[in-house]
């Protein structure tokens, strides 16, 4: 089956996997001794955050390919990945905020480096859209957007490792050098959730890309016919 035709199968597989993920996260995984039921937000919050990093990273990779090899389609691919990244970034901030309120009694802490750094990363990529829509369409816009997307990727490791380097109380570190600090069932549930969320991002990316390409083709067709 060609990669073009496997989208419905992927979409069904994603829906099924996310259904299983919700059951595992809410019903099967044991309750955390320290945090209680609010820890169940972890099973979606962390995969969503990792997926946001992945989407921004792939957007930057496509931008790098655009600058090194060229190709209009890579601009559209980079743009679509960054769009997915901002969707998952917004979800990371919202679910993280709800988890913080449930566990520690605060919606947000400006003193926490990792929270602020993720917000900076998110806002940086939000500004990408302002830049994109303020420059006329064409090769110049493609290059400017690609350079901007590449700059942003430097923030990803800073944001990711801030969680490990920070010593404040608010953000727990679950994955350490000794391995995941959770039971096997918890880790298995987490992996299923992570796979489901990553697949969801990929399916959303593919659908959006088809829409954007069709849009561009229709524009060309309209110009040719008029």
């Amino acid at each position: 089956m060609s990669s073009r035709n496997n989208l419905p199968v992927l979409a069904f597989a994603t829906t099924a996997l996310l259904g299983i993920a919700v059951v595992l996260a809410l019903l099967v995984a044991p309750e955390d001794v320290d945090q209680g039921v609010s820890q169940r937000i972890f099973y979606f919050h962390v995969p969503i955050a990792l997926t946001a990093y992945l989407c921004f990273g792939l957007g930057a990779w496509k931008a790098l390919r655009l600058l090194s090899v060229g190709g209009e389609r890579r601009d559209l691919e980079s743009y679509t990945w960054i769009h997915q990244g901002t969707i998952f970034g917004a979800l990371t901030l919202i679910t993280g905020s709800i988890w913080a309120k449930a566990s520690w009694g605060v919606w947000w802490s400006w003193g926490s480096n990792q929270l602020v750094l993720f917000l900076v990363l998110f806002l940086f990529y939000c500004a990408y859209f302002m830049l994109r829509f303020s420059v006329d369409e064409g090769a110049r816009r493609e290059r400017i957007c690609a350079v901007y997307a590449l700059f942003g990727v430097a923030l990803i490791p800073v944001s990711f490792f801030a969680i490990r380097l920070a010593s404040d109380f608010i953000h727990p570190t679950v994955f350490t050098r000794e391995g995941p600090q959770m039971t096997g069932t918890m880790f298995g549930s987490f992996l299923v959730c992570w796979t489901g969320i990553t697949l969801l991002a990929y399916v959303m990316y593919r659908i959006e890309l088809v829409g954007k390409r069709t849009d561009a083709n229709l524009r060309e067709l309209r110009e040719a016919l008029s």
């Binding site: 039921v37 169940r40 937000i41 979606f44 979800l91 309120k101 449930a102 829409g211």
Partner: protein, 50 residues
């Protein structure tokens, strides 16, 4: 709010975001279908004229 309600809120937000995205894509699909119809009509008119 209880801890359980916060968990429901977090999962609900994710669900609503995905639903919202589906609604936006559905609206876009409807627009693309309309534009394709317009172009098909235009092409048909051209072939009749030409």
């Amino acid at each position: 709010m209880s801890q359980g309600q916060y968990v429901a809120l977090a999962y609900g937000v994710v669900f609503v975001f995905v639903l919202l995205w589906v609604a936006i894509i559905a609206a876009k699909l409807a627009r693309l279908e309309r534009e394709t119809d317009e172009l098909a009509n235009l092409a048909r008119e051209r072939s009749v004229d030409g």
